[in-house]
C-alpha cells in the first residue's frame, strides 16, 4: 500500500526525518510512537502529501486510493458541528444517504449532544471527536491520524478507539496513527514503529515491542511506557 524510499526531510541543516526504507501493507494498523520531536508528525505529513520530503519518495501504489489525514491540531470550521460534517460529504450523494451517514457517525462518536454547537468553539477533545467524525463519515481506504485522542477524556478515548477499530474492520482500512498511549497501541495497532530523532529505532508486533524492546533506546523509552 505505502512504500517509502530513502526519504529525508530537513529543518535548516538538521535532519528531522530520515527513513531509508519502509513499507506498510494493506489492512495494517501502524502505531507511530516516540518522544516529542521524534518526527511522527513530520512523517505523517509527508505520507499525507501536505509537505514534501527533500529527498526520496513516498508511493501509494494502490490505484484510486488517496490518503486522508487528521492533523495533530484539527481545525473546527466556523459553522455547526452538523454543517462541519455536511461540508465534507461528496456532492453526488443522495439526500437520504447523507442523512444516514450523518446520523450514523454522530452516534458512533457520541456527537449528538454537540450537533448544534459551533465547530470552532468546541473543547480540544470535542474537536478531535468531530474531526474524526468528518473522516469516518464515508468509507476510507487509507487513514493517517496524528494523535487523534490526545485531548479526549477517558470516555472520549474509548469512543475514538472503538470507532476506529470498527471502521477499519468494516472498510478494510489501512491505518497509520501517531500515539502516546501504550494502551491505544496495543488496542488498535498490528504493528508499532518507534521513532527516534527522525529515524526508525525499532519496529515490530505491539506486544513484542512493548515487552521486549531490542535496542538500548527502545529499552529506555519503554521504561516510561507501562500500560
Amino acid at each position: 500500500m505505502i512504500t517509502i524510499n530513502a526519504i529525508k526531510k530537513y529543518a535548516g541543516k538538521r535532519c528531522i526525518v530520515n527513513i531509508p526504507h519502509l513499507t506498510i501493507k494493506e489492512n495494517e494498523c501502524v502505531a507511530l510512537i516516540g518522544a516529542n520531536g521524534s518526527g511522527k508528525t513530520t512523517l505523517l505529513r509527508i505520507i499525507a502529501g501536505t509537505i514534501e520530503a527533500d529527498e526520496g519518495k513516498v508511493t501509494i501504489d494502490s490505484p484510486g486510493i488517496h490518503p486522508y489525514y487528521m492533523p495533530q491540531i484539527s481545525f473546527g470550521f466556523a459553522m455547526s458541528v452538523l454543517n462541519n460534517l455536511k461540508t465534507v460529504l461528496p456532492k453526488d450523494m443522495s439526500k437520504d444517504e447523507k442523512q444516514k451517514a450523518i446520523s450514523d457517525v454522530l452516534k458512533l462518536l457520541d456527537l449528538e449532544p454537540l450537533a448544534k454547537k459551533v465547530g470552532s468553539k468546541l473543547s480540544g477533545g470535542e474537536t478531535q471527536r468531530m474531526a474524526l467524525a468528518r473522516l469516518l463519515i464515508t468509507p476510507k481506504k487509507l487513514l493517517l491520524l496524528d494523535e487523534p485522542s490526545s485531548a479526549a477524556d477517558i470516555k472520549g478515548i474509548d469512543l475514538i478507539e472503538t470507532a476506529l477499530i470498527e471502521f477499519c474492520k468494516k472498510n478494510e482500512t489501512t491505518l497509520v496513527m501517531a500515539t502516546h498511549s501504550p494502551k491505544q497501541a496495543l488496542n488498535i495497532a498490528t504493528r508499532v514503529i518507534l521513532l527516534q530523532g527522525g529515524e526508525i529505532a525499532e519496529s515490530g508486533a505491539p506486544e513484542e515491542l512493548l515487552k521486549n524492546p531490542q535496542t538500548e533506546w527502545g529499552k529506555q523509552f519503554m521504561e516510561h511506557w507501562r500500560v
Binding site: Y68, M70, S74, F75, A78, R134
Partner: protein, 230 residues
C-alpha cells in the same frame, strides 16, 4: 456656534447643491470600493493562502509599498494616463466621476489585497492542513477561508470605503472639483473653507461623519453576533 446653526439648517433645508455633492460622493466611493473588492479580495485570498512561491516576497514588498502610495501620486498617474495626449486620452474620461473612481481604485486595490492577504494568512495554514487532509475541493476550501474570516473581511471592505470617502488629493486632481459634476464632499470642504464659507464646510463635515457612522453601524449587523468571551 452661529456657523454651526446655519450648517444644520443647510443640512435640513435639503440644499440642492449639498445633496448633489453627497450623491456624487456616494456614487464614487461605493463604486471604487466595490470594484476594488471584486478585484482585490480574490487576489488577497490567493496570496494569503498560497504557500511560498518564487517572487512572493518581492510581490508582497511591492504591495506594501503601494498600500502607502500618496494619493496625489496616484492622481498624477491617472491624470497622465487619461490626459489629452496620454495613452488613454481618447476615452475622454478626465474630469469625470469615472476618472475619480479609477484613481481611487489605484489607491484602494493594493490596500484591499494587502489587508486581505494578512487576514487570511493568519489561519490559512491550519485551516488548509485540515481541509487538505479531508481532500476537500478548491471551491470548498475557498468558501471555508471566506466564512472563517468573515468578520475581519468586513473590516477590510470598510477600510477601503473609509479611504475612498475621505480621500482628497487624487479626486481633486483627476476630477477637477467641478460644481454639479465632480465635486465631492472632501473637495467641497477644502474649497468652501478656503473661501471662508464655513457653514457649508461644517454641514458637509457633519454629514461625512454621519455617513461613515451609518455605514459602520450597518456593517456591525453584517458581522453578526459572536460569543467570544476572551
Amino acid at each position: 456656534m452661529n456657523a454651526f446653526k446655519q450648517a444644520m439648517s443647510l443640512v435640513f433645508s435639503l440644499d440642492k447643491e449639498l445633496w448633489h455633492i453627497i450623491g456624487v460622493t456616494l456614487r464614487m466611493s461605493l463604486s471604487s470600493t466595490a470594484i476594488s473588492c471584486i478585484i482585490g479580495i480574490p487576489l488577497g485570498v490567493f496570496l494569503g493562502s498560497s504557500r511560498r512561491f518564487r517572487g512572493k516576497a518581492l510581490l508582497m514588498r511591492i504591495l506594501h509599498t503601494l498600500m502607502g502610495l500618496p494619493p496625489v501620486v496616484a492622481g498624477l498617474l491617472v491624470f497622465l494616463l487619461l490626459s489629452h495626449s496620454g495613452p488613454l486620452g481618447s476615452l475622454k474620461l478626465l474630469f469625470s466621476v469615472e476618472a475619480m473612481v479609477i484613481a481611487q481604485c489605484v489607491l484602494i486595490i493594493p490596500i484591499v489585497i494587502g489587508l486581505c492577504a494578512s487576514v487570511i494568512g493568519i489561519n490559512a495554514p491550519r485551516l488548509l492542513e485540515t481541509a487538505n487532509g479531508l481532500r476537500l475541493p478548491r471551491t470548498s476550501k475557498t468558501k471555508l477561508l471566506l466564512i472563517e474570516n468573515k468578520v475581519p473581511l468586513v473590516s477590510v471592505v470598510l477600510t477601503g470605503f473609509g479611504r475612498a470617502i475621505s480621500e482628497v488629493g487624487a479626486v481633486s486632481l483627476v476630477g477637477g472639483n467641478i460644481q454639479f459634476k465632480t465635486r465631492v464632499m472632501t473637495t467641497a470642504i477644502m474649497l468652501e473653507t478656503n473661501k471662508g464659507n464655513f457653514e457649508f464646510a461644517i454641514a458637509l463635515g457633519f454629514l461625512l461623519i454621519m455617513i461613515a457612522f451609518i455605514i459602520n453601524f450597518a456593517a456591525s449587523f453584517l458581522k453578526g453576533n459572536s460569543y467570544d468571551y476572551y
